[in-house]
């Protein structure tokens, strides 16, 4: 047996002494496949509830179930929202990617690719918590909503770049709701969670819309989905009743009913946006570049080198001194991380700027002449609020279901 600690005091020769077991349990349950199975079942039922049963009540129930099971019973971590960091880390660093992690990451996206963002409603404990704690809808203006959504894209890119340059999974660490699922973290965490929940009471799903990095990927997949949620179970009569029912701004009005605006006005605005685009992209890229400096400090090595250069004594410098790691190697690694962060964040900034302008332009663009109210598949999270608002749904579909021809109708 090799001891690297000093055996200053030899072990005595005991006559009849049996040393206690070290009590290290080596059995580890692999919870990820169970989690995956639960998620798959929840998604299946969410799909049925959103497309076939068309019932908000069932959707809410599934939401509560996902909060209970995936949030509290199996602990919220690891969840698909943070998994993209694992996938990136598996690709760029020596982090070993496992099949369970990969499946957990891909499953909601694959579902979104065919049926839209069912995961946000019926599979995500974070989404469920926001859904269940939303009471009074405050509509966010569309242009502000679209600009705000770029924050999620920015977080996706910044988190990805940080991870790919070896800085750890910061989006998991910074998840505002995590404190709810693992009681007893710091007061700062609790305060942030409290503010987010309070905001969520009035603004529907603030995290999903403006911060969730996974939501950006889901949105992209859902946009390509061949099927999307229908607002009405019957034929839309363009009664406008559902217009304000969606707190996520996912209902698209038919072209003739859109706010009265002359084509000239629209064209002029589009022109302005086009002219501004290069400047916005450059500005955002510059912002990304200048953010790289401060954000580098999340890397352990960068912080360590800063304290070494500043002759500050900390636990990290003590540990470094005793580790025997050469300073030149540390400097090389820091230089590499800085370079990666700078390049990655500059490109990220440019992408965010471009995406923001494209989304604003899309607001001014004339769609193919839609005659009925439809959902924007990329934004719809299948919450089912619009089902209850649609009079056609009430009058025809539900009445027919509730009162079969044999029974007497009192409507």
């Amino acid at each position: 047996m090799i001891f690297f600690a000093q055996m200053r005091f030899p072990r005595p020769d005991f006559e009849d002494y049996v040393e206690p077991a070290m009590n290290l349990e080596t059995q580890v349950a692999d919870g990820i496949y169970l989690r995956l199975a639960v998620l798959a079942i929840l998604l299946l039922f969410t799909g049925l509830a959103a497309y076939r049963w068309r019932s908000r009540r069932v959707l809410l129930l599934l939401s509560a179930l996902s909060l209970l099971l995936l949030g509290f019973v199996f602990s919220a971590c690891p969840c698909p929202v943070g998994m993209y960091q694992n996938v990136l880390a598996g690709w760029f660093t020596d982090y070993p990617l496992t099949l369970g992690v990969l499946l957990l990451f891909v499953l909601p996206l694959a579902v979104a690719l065919y049926y839209g963002r069912l995961f946000c409603m019926g599979g995500c404990p974070l989404g469920a918590m926001q859904e269940l704690l939303h009471f009074k809808t405050l509509q966010v203006p569309l242009w502000l909503d679209r600009i705000g959504r770029q924050l999620a894209l920015a977080l996706l890119l910044v988190g990805g770049v940080t991870e790919a340059s070896g800085g750890g999974f910061h989006l998991c660490h910074g998840d505002p709701y995590f404190v709810i699922f693992s009681f007893g973290v710091s007061w700062t965490h609790l305060a942030v969670a409290g503010v987010m929940i309070l905001l969520g009471v009035f603004v529907c799903r603030p995290y999903c819309r403006y911060m969730c990095p996974y939501g950006v990927l889901l949105r992209l997949c859902a946009l390509a989905a061949p099927r999307k949620i229908a607002i009405t179970g019957g034929d839309c009569i363009s009664c406008r009743l559902c217009e304000q029912s969606c707190p996520n701004g996912a209902i698209v009005a038919p072209e003739p009913l859109k706010a009265a605006e002359s084509p000239e006005q629209g064209r002029r605005r589009l022109g302005w946006l086009l002219a501004l685009t290069p400047y916005v992209i450059i500005l955002c890229a510059w912002a990304g570049y200048s953010l790289a400096g401060p954000l580098c400090a999340v890397h352990h090595d960068v912080k360590l080198l800063q304290s070494l250069d500043g002759n500050l004594r900390s636990d990290a410098t003590v540990a470094f001194a005793s580790s025997g790691r050469p300073l030149s190697e540390l400097r090389d690694s820091v230089a590499q991380q800085r370079r990666r962060m700078r390049i990655g964040l500059t490109i990220s900034g440019a992408i965010v700027g471009l995406a923001m302008m494209l989304e604003l332009m899309a607001l001014s663009r004339r769609r193919s002449p839609g005659r009925t109210y439809e959902v924007d598949a990329g934004l719809c999270v299948a919450c089912g609020r619009c089902y209850d608002v649609c009079p056609v749904e009430h009058m025809t579909v539900k009445l027919r279901k509730a009162c079969p021809p044999a029974a007497k109708s009192d409507a």
């Binding site: 040393e19 290290l24 007893g184 352990h300 990290a316």
Partner: protein, 182 residues
């Protein structure tokens, strides 16, 4: 709808890409990865007791008896300014009284850890490493750890001692691994 169809196909291919990466790496890691402390890097800074999302922490002190000297004066057990070599609280290094000692024979004592009381602060580990054999070490308990995707302690660890290990070798020992006592 042709354009949407094309996008859908393209995204499906993109989603399949990570699986290619996984296959390329080989099937070395089948199960989950678990957080462990590399005892060789640990400097017992005390953050394990405070940074874990669990309260009390999932990090506990572990005693590797094989390298213990069973000293009467145990520098892991007794405070530097101890008054007497007895189990009085003022003599003990452990703030919660989790490290307990029991007379065996001759001048020798056995030291055990009451895990209900241990908060993972690592003071005994430091004491034992400084003046003793270094048979105590801190480790993440598998039955307690919820295995966060990003360990809070790992983020705060000043010596980068937190590592991920494959789940078929779930524990890192301080000294060479020994077949588990049954």
């Amino acid at each position: 709808m042709e354009r949407r169809d094309f996008f859908q196909k393209a995204l499906a291919v993109l989603l399949a890409l990570p699986f290619v990466g996984w296959l390329r790496r080989g099937k070395s890691a089948g199960g989950p990865l678990l957080w462990q402390i590399d005892p060789k890097k640990c400097i017992q800074c005390g953050r394990c007791a405070t940074e874990c999302v669990l309260k009390p922490s999932a990090v506990k002190c572990v005693h590797q008896y094989a390298s213990c000297g069973y000293c009467e004066f145990c520098s892991g057990f007794f405070h530097n300014q101890y008054r007497q070599l007895n189990t009085g609280a003022e003599n003990q290094r452990c703030p919660t009284g989790a490290l307990q000692r029991r007379y065996v024979e001759g001048p020798y004592f056995e030291y055990t850890i009451d895990e209900q009381l241990c908060n993972g602060c690592g003071r005994c580990v430091k004491g034992c490493a400084d003046f003793g054999n270094g048979s105590l070490f801190l480790q993440v308990r598998r039955d307690l750890c919820v295995n966060c995707n990003q360990c809070g302690i790992a983020m705060a660890c000043p010596s980068q001692a937190f590592v991920r290990v494959p789940h078929d070798q779930p524990y890192l020992y301080k000294h060479a691994p020994k077949e588990p006592a049954t």
